[in-house]
Amino acid sequence: MFFRDHAGIYIHIPFCDHKCIYCDFYSIITSDNIQAYLKALKKEIDYYAEKYQNRNNYVSVFFGGGTPSLMEPKYLGEILDHLHKRFSIKQSAEITMETNPGTVNREKFREFRHAGINRVSVGIQSFDKKELEFLTRIHDAETAKSAVYDAYMAGIENLSLDLIFNLPGQTSEIWLKTLSEAVNLPVKHISAYSLILERGTILNKMVLKGEIDLQGEEIDADLYEKTIGFLGDYGFEQYEVSNFAKPGYECVHNSIYWQAKEYHGFGTSAHSYFDGKRRWNVSSLKFYIDAVNEKGHAIIGEEELTFDERKEEYRYLYLRHTGLNIREYDELFSEDFMTKNEPLVLELINHGLAEYDGVTLQMTGKGYAVCDEIIARIE
C-alpha cells in the first residue's frame, strides 16, 4: 500500500496535433479555444472547491490528454497555481504531464518544470520506424529518445514511457528491441499496453474493413510474458497489469484509481469519484465551455455505486494492482473471502497464477495475463 486517504486531481487537455489511429480519448485538432477552455477549467475548479473544500489532501495532479505538452507552460502553471489556491495540495505531490515527442524541447521542459511539473510521461509507443508510421505518430525513434533526454536534462528525473505491444506483424524480436531501447533511457517507469481495439478508433475501422489483421492470443501472451521477464531483469517491477517501475517510482496518480481512492477530474470528458459516486463530464469542448459558464460544472452522467458494486470494484482494482489484502477487504465489506473462494484460490496458487502470503492475494505475471478471467470467477 502506498497511500492512505489521499486523493488526486486529473486535468484533461483535449488539444492534439492530430488523431492517432488507436486513440479513443476525447481530443480535438485545433487550438482556437484554448483561452476559453482555460477560463472554464478555472471556473469548474472554483465550483468544486467551494463545494468540497478542505476534504482531502491531494497527493497528485495529472495533466492528461489530448496532448498537454502542446500547451504553453505558463498556462499549465496558471492552472496549478489556481489549484493550489483552491485545494490543499501536498508539497510533495506528484505533478504529471503527458507528453508527445516532437512537441517539446529542452527549454520548454525547463519551463514546465518551473511551472510545477515534476513527472513526465512520454507517449513513445514504439522505437520501430515502421510501427511508428503505422501508429501515425509524428515522431521517429530519435525524436522520441531526445524528448526523454531533454526532459531529463531539464531536471525532470521522474520519467515514464508508454509503449504498445502486439501490434500487427510485431515479432518478439522487434518488441524486445523496443524494450531494450526503453530501458537504456533514463526512465523510472514504463507502461506497456497490449494493443486494444477501441470502438470508434481509426484502427477499429481498418480491422473491420480487413485492411489489417490483429495478432492472436498466443502471440499476445508470449509478448506479455517476455515484457514482464525483460523489464524485471532491468529492475522494473510489475505493480499493475500494464505498469512497471523502479522501486519507489510507482505512479502515485494511477495508484489512486487502483486503490479506489477519491479523485476529481476537470475538463472535457474527465471522470471523478468522490462521495461514493462516479461522475463524468461532457466530451465536447463547446458544450463543456457553455455548461461551465452556465452552471459551474459540466457533468452529464453520474452513478452512485451500490455496496456490491463498490465491493466488486475494490476486489478487481486491487487484484489488477498490488494484490488484495484479505483481512482489510473482509473488514471493509463484512465478507469472508477465503470461505467463498478457497477452492479457486488454491487452484490459482497451484497453477502459478497467484501468490498468497497469508495477508495479500497477489497475481503473478501469469496471473495478470488472465486477470479478467480470474476476477470474473471470484465471488
Binding site: 486529473y10 497489469v241 484509481y257 479478467d372
Partner: protein
C-alpha cells in the same frame, strides 16, 4: 345418417393437404376466402411456421350435391408427422373415407404409403387425388401409374386437381358423396363415442373432439370414460364449423365436441371411448392404446434458480399435451430438472419451442435417448430412460433396445447411398419394392436410437431432399450396448453420458471428445477431456489453458466500464454449468447431435 360423410385427408408434407382443405371449405361456403387465413386448419402459429399440422382438428361443411341432396361433410384433419402416428390412426378410426393427395410432380412418398396403409387397415374408402397438376413440373401420367400401382384403382378414378388454381374441387366433393359410405351405427344402442382429439381451453377446460359410433350424447349426460374412473357431466355438446356450434346433442354417425368442466387433457385421452355412466355401453370401441414416449431427454432450466418456474410451466403445458410425460430428476452437472418423455424428436422440439414461446422458459436439453430394458445378473429387470442410470457393466446380463420398422421411398438413383447410410445406422435390410421404374420403396428395421438424431437430415441431404421416411415401433431386441462416459479433468459429467452400440463406442468417443474440445472455451486451467467405457479411457482431448485475457488499461474513466463488462461476464458464466473446476457452455450438452459421422 345417410347424408353424413366423415372423411380425412392423407398427404405427404407440402403435397397440399391444407390448401385442398381450404378450397373445400370455401367451395361449400363454410368460410370465405378472406377468412381462410391461408391454411385455416393449422391454427397454431408454430404449426403454420413449420408447415405441418401437429394436432388434428375437425370441421363440418354443408354441401349441396349434384343429386340435389344436402350432405354434412365432416373433415377430420390428421397430423402429418411420424411422431404422431397413433393420433393419425385414431383420426382414421373416426372416418369412413380418405382423400389421398399426391403431388403431381413429387409422386408417392413414404408417409403417403404408411398413412395409406393405416387407412386401408381401418377399412376406409380411398379417393386418390393428384394435386398441383397445373405446375410446370407436373407429370400426371407417371404419378397416376404410381397411384394405380399402389391402390389398384382405375385410371379414371383418380381426380386431377389444383388447389391453388381451383381445379377439381367440385369433383372431389362429388367423389366424397358418392364413394365414401355413410356412417353405420345405431342411435338406439348405448352411447359409444370415440375421442379422436382433445384440446385444452383455459376457460372451458379440456374439449374432446368425438365421433359418435352408437347411441346419442346429450348435454347433462353423466359421462364415463373407459381409460379412467372419473365421471363428468356434459355441459356443452355441438358440431364444429369454423367455430364451435352448440347443438345440445350428437347422434350415431355424427362428429362434434363435448365440454365437461374437465380440468386436464389427460382425462380426454385420444383413442378413449365415452359412454353414459352406469347405463352405458359395457365395452369401449377397439383400438385404444396408452401412448408411450419413444424418446427421452433431460430438461433443465438454463438458470438453476428457475427450476420452480420450469415446473409450473411444464405443469401448465401438460394440460395441453397428453403425450408429454415428465418427472423430476437431478444431475450433478445441471442441477434440478426433469426427465421428459416425447413421442419423437419433432415432439421434443415442439415442446421445447413452446415452453420458450408461451412460457418464456429457456432450457437446456440433454442428448435424447431411447428407453432400454436391462436384465441384470441378479435376475432384476430395470427400465433405463437416462443413460446415467445404466447399471455397472459387471451387473448386466443383457440389454434390449427398441426397434422400428422403417420405410424409405426414394428416387432409385439414391438407393446406393441410402443403403450405405442405413448400414451405418445398424439397419437390417428387408426388401425393396419398385413403385415405378424410377422410384424405390425400401423396407428396413432399425434400432430406434440410431434414427432419432440425424437420420432424417442425412437422408434428406444424400437424396437432395427427395427421399422420404416413416417408421413404426416393432418391439425390443437384445443389443450389445455400452455406456460411454465423458470426463472433464477426471470428473464424469452425468449429463454427457450416453448409451451406444459397442461397435460404435470408439468412434463416438473420439468424435465427442474432439467436439467438446471445440465447444468448451479456454479457461484458467487446462481441461482434460476423456471418453471412457467403465474405467477404460478410449479417447482423449485437451483444451489448453487460457493465456491472455485482461484489459490493458483501467484508469479513471475505464473503471465503471470495466465493472459493467465484468458483470456481463459473470452473468454469462451463470449460464455455464460448473463441473469441478470446469465451466461447460450449454451447447456442449448437445455436442453429440452436431457430430457428423
Amino acid at each position: 345418417m345417410n347424408n353424413i360423410r366423415n372423411f380425412c385427408i392423407i398427404a405427404h408434407i407440402d403435397h397440399g393437404k391444407s390448401t385442398i382443405a381450404d378450397r373445400l371449405l370455401e367451395y361449400t361456403g363454410t368460410i370465405t376466402a378472406r377468412e381462410a387465413k391461408d391454411q385455416i386448419l393449422d391454427s397454431m402459429d408454430l404449426e403454420r411456421e413449420r408447415g405441418i399440422t401437429i394436432k388434428s382438428h375437425a370441421i363440418a361443411m354443408e354441401y349441396k350435391a349434384k343429386d340435389g341432396n344436402v350432405y354434412a361433410l365432416n373433415l377430420i384433419d390428421t397430423p402429418g408427422h411420424v411422431d404422431f402416428t397413433y393420433e393419425v390412426s385414431r383420426s382414421l378410426a373416426a372416418c369412413e373415407g380418405a382423400l389421398l393427395i399426391v403431388d403431381a410432380s413429387q409422386g408417392v412418398e413414404a408417409q403417403t404409403i404408411s398413412n395409406l396403409y393405416l387407412a386401408i387397415d381401418a377399412g376406409l374408402e380411398i379417393i386418390p387425388v393428384l394435386n398441383k397438376i397445373d405446375l410446370p413440373g407436373a407429370d400426371p401420367d407417371k404419378i397416376k401409374a404410381q397411384v394405380i400401382d399402389l391402390l389398384g384403382c382405375k385410371d379414371e378414378e383418380i381426380i386431377l386437381a389444383s388447389a391453388k388454381a381451383n381445379i377439381g374441387i367440385e369433383d372431389i366433393l362429388e367423389a366424397i358423396v358418392k364413394t365414401v359410405p355413410p356412417p353405420v351405427g345405431d342411435s338406439t344402442l348405448p352411447l359409444q363415442a370415440l375421442i379422436f382429439d382433445s384440446v385444452f381451453d383455459p376457460y372451458r377446460g379440456a374439449i374432446a373432439y368425438i365421433r359418435v359410433k352408437n347411441g346419442i350424447i346429450k348435454e347433462r349426460d353423466k359421462l364415463k370414460f373407459f381409460a379412467h374412473d372419473k365421471v363428468y357431466e356434459a355441459e356443452e355438446v355441438g358440431v364444429l364449423r369454423l367455430n364451435k356450434i352448440r347443438t345440445g346433442s350428437l347422434k350415431a354417425g355424427e362428429v362434434g365436441y363435448v365440454i365437461g368442466g374437465i380440468k386436464d387433457v389427460h382425462d380426454t385421452k385420444v383413442g378413449d371411448t365415452i359412454t353414459i355412466n352406469k347405463t352405458g355401453a359395457a365395452h369401449p370401441l377397439p383400438g385404444y392404446k396408452e401412448i408411450k414416449p419413444m424418446v427421452y431427454s433431460g430438461l433443465y432450466p438454463t438458470n438453476t434458480e428457475q427450476y420452480e418456474e420450469l415446473r409450473d410451466a411444464l405443469d401448465k403445458y401438460r394440460l395441453n399435451d397428453a403425450a408429454l410425460v415428465f418427472e423430476p430428476e437431478t444431475s450433478a452437472a445441471l442441477g434440478f430438472g426433469f426427465r421428459c418423455g416425447f413421442l419423437g424428436m419433432l415432439h421434443m422440439e415442439i415442446v421445447q419451442e413452446r415452453l420458450y414461446r408461451e412460457f418464456n422458459q429457456a432450457i437446456i436439453t440433454t442428448l435424447p435417448n431411447v428407453e432400454y430394458i436391462v436384465y441384470k445378473k441378479s435376475g432384476e429387470k430395470v427400465i433405463v430412460d437416462n443413460p446415467d442410470h445404466m447399471p455397472l457393466p459387471g451387473e448386466i446380463e443383457n440389454v434390449e433396445e427398441p426397434y422400428v420398422k422403417a420405410q424409405i421411398v426414394t428416387p432409385s438413383e439414391y438407393v446406393g447411398s441410402i443403403m450405405k447410410l442405413a448400414m451405418d445406422k445398424r439397419g437390417i435390410y428387408k426388401n425393396t419394392v419398385y413403385i415405378d421404374p424410377t422410384r424405390a420403396d425400401l423396407s428396413y428395421e432399425f434400432p430406434l436410437a440410431e434414427i432419432i438424431f440425424d437420420f432424417y437430415d442425412k437422408l434428406k441431404s444424400i437424396s437432395r431432399g427427395y427421399a422420404s421416411f416413416d417408421y413404426e415401433f416393432i418391439g425390443n431386441r437384445e443389443s450389445e450396448l455400452v455406456k460411454l462416459d465423458l470426463l472433464l479433468n477426471g470428473e464424469p459429467v452425468d449429463a454427457l453420458s450416453m448409451i451406444v452400440h459397442r461397435s460404435k463406442a470408439y468412434d463416438w468417443g473420439r468424435k465427442v471428445a474432439d467436439k467438446l474440445k471445440d465447444l468448451i472455451p479456454k479457461q484458467l486451467f487446462e481441461i482434460n477431456i476423456q471418453a471412457a467405457i467403465g474405467t477404460k479411457v478410449i479417447a482423449k482431448s485437451v483444451v489448453k489453458a487460457m493465456r491472455k485475457n485482461v484489459l490493458a488499461k483501467c484508469y479513471g474513466g475505464d473503471i465503471s466500464r470495466k465493472r459493467k463488462l465484468l458483470e456481463k461476464q459473470k452473468e454469462g458464466k451463470k449460464r455455464m454449468k460448473q463441473v469441478g473446476n470446469v465451466e461447460i457452455p450449454q451447447e456442449a450438452f448437445l455436442a453429440v447431435l452436431q457430430i457428423d459421422e
